[in-house]
């Protein structure tokens, strides 16, 4: 199939015969799952950076579902199939496809706070917590922040993806 590379509001879309992957750069927190797990498809150093012929549809879905933000989402090209996205893809459904989510699926009232140390990347903190930096105190509500661990970010304390360029290894 011809490589497709179309723009949509806020991003680009990339398709193979079965699915379309949506890329919203402004939502990216540089957690780095995509290129670390599947460089054949997601290569930030290549243009276009997503090559839908680089792997199987199943593998691409698996990696897109690992993205902690809305930066990467996907849909079946055959629209009817989107209504029956498996429960084991709840991460995808719950966080990034609200129109498919079950309204009763809200878990415990106070969701746990998790701080994930990404491989050679930032620390991604998710949940509801108090964030203090530069004399500012912010209440983060059921959201996430991605904080620099490599010391090279141009926007500290937040990650801006520089760890990849400086070759940060942890």
């Amino acid at each position: 199939m011809e490589k497709e590379n179309k723009k949509f509001t806020g991003g680009r879309r990339y398709s193979n015969d079965e699915i379309t992957v949506f890329w919203k750069p402004t939502a990216c927190v540089h957690a780095s799952y995509c290129y670390r797990e599947l460089l054949e498809v997601f290569d930030p150093g290549r243009r276009p950076w997503i090559d839908m012929n680089g792997s199987t549809t199943d593998k691409i879905i698996e990696i897109v579902n690992m993205c902690p933000t809305e930066a990467l989402t996907w849909k079946w090209n055959e629209d009817a199939k989107n209504d029956s996205v498996d429960k084991d893809q709840t991460n995808h459904v719950k966080f990034r496809r609200p129109e498919l989510s079950n309204t009763q699926a809200l878990p415990e009232p106070v969701p746990p706070v998790t701080a994930k140390v990404m491989i050679d990347g930032p620390i991604v903190i998710k949940g509801s917590f108090t964030l203090c930096y530069d004399g500012i105190t912010k209440e983060v509500k059921e959201s996430l922040v991605s904080l620099c661990r490599c010391g090279a970010s141009d926007h500290p304390p937040f990650c801006d993806g520089r760890h990849r360029k400086v070759g940060f290894i942890d």
Partner: protein, 63 residues
């Protein structure tokens, strides 16, 4: 059970100027490289990239 109770943040994330990241309270720390998961209550994490004990701070930023 009380209703409409405001969600009280369980954890505090504090960015220390020219220093580490302090996380305290009720949280889980997952380290993907070292495949560990702990709930330490308080932790000081390296932000400068130089620590020899990553993800933890070893005060290398002072050197």
């Amino acid at each position: 059970m009380e209703e409409n109770k405001e969600i009280t943040p369980q954890a505090t994330v504090e960015v220390i100027e020219f220093g580490p990241l302090r996380i305290s309270g009720n949280f889980t720390l997952k380290d993907l490289r070292r495949d560990s998961e702990v709930s330490p209550g308080e932790v000081w994490l390296c932000r400068c990239g130089k620590s020899q004990t990553k993800p933890y701070c070893d005060e290398s930023h002072k050197k």
